[in-house]
Symmetry: C2
Subunit: 151 residues, 2 copies
DNA sequence: CACAATTAGATTGCGCACAATAGAAAAGAT
DNA sequence: ATCTTTTCTATTGTGCGCAATCTAATTGTG
């Protein structure tokens, strides 16, 4: 009768953080060939989803939705501007803000992008309902961890 | 009677990949102050967990457990050697392999590391059972996505 | 109005991730 | 035993992420 069975919290196989980490990388690898066709990286795909939902937003808003700061977004958005997906223009109302707007090409990419979640759903062997439930549980955990940082 | 309600698969809020991605970053940010005390980054913490479980393993084995390749691990392990956590020695049986072994300091760090999953559990507002269930679901999804890459 | 405090982005530096490539060693084939 | 193929690690280059710092613009206060 072992005292400490397989419940040691320091075993890799018992770590939820590693399950999340390794699943995030698996998504990245799975999406890469699909996103290559669109000329997007995964974080750029996230930015595009923000913009498809609401266009012409300041960098700050994108950062809040994606949990990313200017150190990440500034160079990323410059690369996206260089590839012709977006345009960066400084706001006239508030000269501190840089507004991000889709180009026609960026807008048009939305239809092609539908193949991405479709392929994931097909390969996941999960129902939409199961994935939706996981999504909600993950978001709840994420929000708890983020909340714990602000004490 | 909307045809397409809030189920558009291209909305950020409906993306399980983003839930996974943003939760992974939340873990990283949550762990950072804890791991700073141990002198570890998060990927280095993962390597330590592999080594605490089984010491003196080749780089390849670490890579398979963590789903990382030599391009990531070689410089990471060199940094860990520089900070005195591990030792890298080329195998005499197979000169291609580099074996990774813990230093006494690396071994001793295990006890301090117990605070990390403890703090996560306390802030997660989840039971061990709930987290374990999520872990298993994520691993299943991860394995499906990885399997889909090998066709 | 002047002036301190806050806010939005940009910049620098470091550490992952990963594709692509290279090189040395081992294993397999003839 | 030679030659090919495979395996293991290292290297290079690109793109995130994030802490820390900086600058300029706006807001708040007296």
């Amino acid at each position: 009768m072992a005292r400490k069975p397989a419940v040691d919290p320091l075993l890799l196989g018992n770590q939820i953080c590693f399950a999340v980490y390794s699943t995030a990388h698996a998504f990245n690898r799975f999406y890469k060939p699909l996103l290559d066709k669109l000329g997007l990286t995964y974080p750029q795909y996230l930015v595009m989803m923000v913009l498809w939902e609401r266009d012409g937003v300041p960098v700050k808003d994108i950062g809040e939705k994606l949990f990313l700061d200017s150190g990440t977004l500034t160079p990323l958005l410059k690369r996206m501007e260089a590839t012709g997906l977006i345009k960066r223009t400084r706001s006239t109302q508030d000269e501190r803000q840089v507004l991000i707007a889709l180009t026609p090409h960026g807008h048009a990419l939305r239809e092609k992008a539908r193949a991405v979640p479709e392929a994931m759903l097909a390969s996941s062997a999960c129902s939409v309902g199961e994935l939706f439930a996981m999504k909600n549980e993950l978001e709840a955990l994420r929000d708890k961890l983020n909340a714990a940082l602000g004490e």
